[in-house]
């Protein structure tokens, strides 16, 4: 494959990143995604839209988020300086709110009166419920029945925020089925409903739009590291489920040839077992949820269930831009197992007094692995995409402690 002049110009006008992305939805939805695309293109060039979004990100979310030098983690690994981008300090406790605020402003511009969303662990559901409360929209969140059971605290938070949580009983009753059900709702409520997708995936324009809203992560990080260290990092890394925090972190660095970029997927119980969510390592290209991208599937093209200890990474697909970045070789994708993630979860808690989300713990696990092989004068930045309070029950169970 030829090296492109820039890795930041995609997608094309049909939403393709190389052979990935596109619009694979039922005909009923085609006019709606065109309408959304037009509305987003108009908003992008409207200074008032950006000004309002920036104001909310500053005063409601608490941006910019700090770029924190993890001194004791650095010493513990004995390698390069490790910085953490603190998305866990955002309002609602994760990066998800960056995207939800952008989309809710768009929903209002489009005159929509109802928000729907899908959620896995519940972090996007909470963020969607939060912005819906803030802007006075009724909100319905689809969540797999299995996830409703294992994330009870987030279900309560969503209800407290005024959202209706609908437990999805079809298929594997997890995130992919929640997304199917949200699509079915959208098809049935075409005139008034705005579908707030939580990750950089789905039919065009979602992957590009969500990336743009999340790119605030990488844009801030780039300026912050230049200010702190006077140079760009040698390695930037983030966890990848659908891949929204990762693409937000990576995108502003894609054309910095000296910056190595690593995505970290969930290896679950191991990529040599059927129990993982390592789509880019183990999947093959396929079509699901409106896009062509790497996908965990069997030899009949049936979608396989993913597994990860972190519900937010428990998804058999991945955003299309990651698939393209994988194939071009610009970003390298690795994985971390459930065990490595839990070890990193504990390590960061003890070393830095920061309890990371299990999702983000996969990126920390990768950092701890690679830091040992890198020289001390290098710089690493990892995205700490969310806080780990929500995972207390899960990790306690693994550690054999009763709460």
């Amino acid at each position: 494959m030829n090296t492109p002049n820039s890795y930041r110009t995609g997608p094309d006008s049909d939403g393709h990143f190389g052979g990935y992305g596109g619009r694979f939805v039922a005909e009923t939805l085609m006019p709606l995604i065109f309408e959304l695309e037009q509305a987003y293109e108009a908003a992008k060039t409207d200074p008032a839209f950006h000004e309002e979004l920036k104001g909310l990100l500053t005063h409601y979310v608490g941006r910019e988020s700090p770029l924190y030098f993890a001194e004791r983690l650095t010493a513990h690994c004995g390698g390069p300086k490790i910085y953490l981008k603190r998305e866990d300090l955002n309002h609602t406790g994760a990066h998800k709110v960056n995207n939800c605020l952008g989309q809710v402003l768009l929903a209002r511009r489009m005159g929509k009166t109802r928000i729907i969303a899908e959620t896995g662990a519940g972090m996007h559901g909470v963020a969607a419920a939060t912005v819906s409360a803030r802007f006075g929209f009724p909100c319905v969140v689809y969540m797999g029945e299995v996830d409703v059971e294992r994330q009870k605290a987030n279900v309560f938070r969503m209800r407290l925020l005024g959202a209706e949580v609908r437990a999805v009983k079809s298929g594997s009753r997890t995130l992919k089925d929640a997304m199917n059900e949200a699509m079915r709702d959208w098809v049935a409520n075409v005139s008034d409903t705005f579908y707030m997708i939580g990750t950089a995936a789905g039919p065009h324009p979602y992957p590009a739009m969500v990336r743009d809203f999340q790119s605030v992560i990488g844009t801030e990080t780039r300026a912050q590291i230049l200010e702190r260290e006077g140079r760009l990092p040698d390695l930037v890394t983030a966890c990848v489920g659908g891949g929204s925090n990762a693409i937000g972190m990576f995108h502003p660095f894609l054309d910095d040839a000296d910056v190595e970029i690593h995505g970290v997927e969930a290896a679950g119980k191991g990529t040599d077992t059927p129990y993982h969510a390592a789509t880019l390592s183990k999947g093959i290209p396929g079509v699901l949820h409106g896009q062509r991208s790497y996908l965990l599937q069997d030899d009949d093209g049936q979608v396989l269930e993913a597994h990860s200890i972190s519900a937010g990474l428990d998804y058999p697909g991945v955003g299309p831009e990651h698939s393209w970045l994988r194939d071009t070789g610009r970003v390298k994708y690795f994985s971390a197992t459930d065990k490595e993630a839990v070890d990193a979860f504990v390590a960061l808690s003890r070393l830095e007094g920061i309890i990371p989300a299990l999702e983000s713990s996969h990126a920390i696990a990768h950092v701890m692995r690679v830091a040992r092989q890198m020289e001390k004068d290098k710089l690493i930045v990892a995205c700490l995409s969310g806080r780990g309070d929500k995972d207390a029950n899960t990790v306690a169970a693994v550690l054999g402690e009763k709460i």
């Binding site: 049909d14 039922a26 009923t28 085609m30 298929g171 199917n180 699901l288 030899d299 009949d300 093209g301």
Partner: protein
Amino acid sequence: MSRIAARFEELKKANRAAFIPFITAGDPDGETTAAMLEKLPAAGADLIELGVPFSDPMADGPSIQAASQRALKAGMRLTKVLELVRRFRKTDAKTPIVLMGYYNPIHKYGTALFVKDAVEAGVDGLITVDLPPEEDDVLRLPAASHGLDIVRLATPTTNDERLKTILNGAGGFLYYVSITGVTGTKSFADDEVHAAVARLQAATGLPCAVGFGIKTPERAAAVAKFADAAVVGSAIVDRMASGAKLEDVLAYCTELAEAVHGARI
């Protein structure tokens, strides 16, 4: 002339609409589907829509979702769907079969290879729910060279400009999704669907079928007065799911067929 075109021409001469039953291949197992397929033409089916099960049927309501799950659990796969069609063609050379499903199993099979194998098996058309005109060259171009019809869908959200895109490359017949919603969930007002179908018929020479909201012989008859075909899916699938005997399901199909065939008398 293709089997689909020949069948609609026949019906037009007789001033009758087509009755198109939908069943999910492999629900509850392959042998039942084979028996059902063999008997459907005698029960009054003019064309048959055979659902290809998929793990994530986003455009389907609870009935067909469950049918897909049952079929997959019983081991149905795309290669076996083609086998079912091949078997059917040993007893019936005239009744068109249209496969309805989602793109990923075809994508995984390999689109060009699938088109070739499907035509060889005796498939006449494909409805691929999540493959809009913008993305379907990969399937439509090989299909065109093998004489396989790509059946496109129009919906209540389709405006005139969109309709042009849909019709450009459409084959076999045009499928009007009569509701905004998933299969088997809502019903529609006859006059609205009548107006919508009239608009489609004015824009294309292709026959126009109506589906997604027809649950009773009465509704099928109402649609058959103006549409070129009435598709019934969930109502048949529900009877299969309830454990009804095959002959009872077929008797219900005959009721639907008679309602459709008698609608213009």
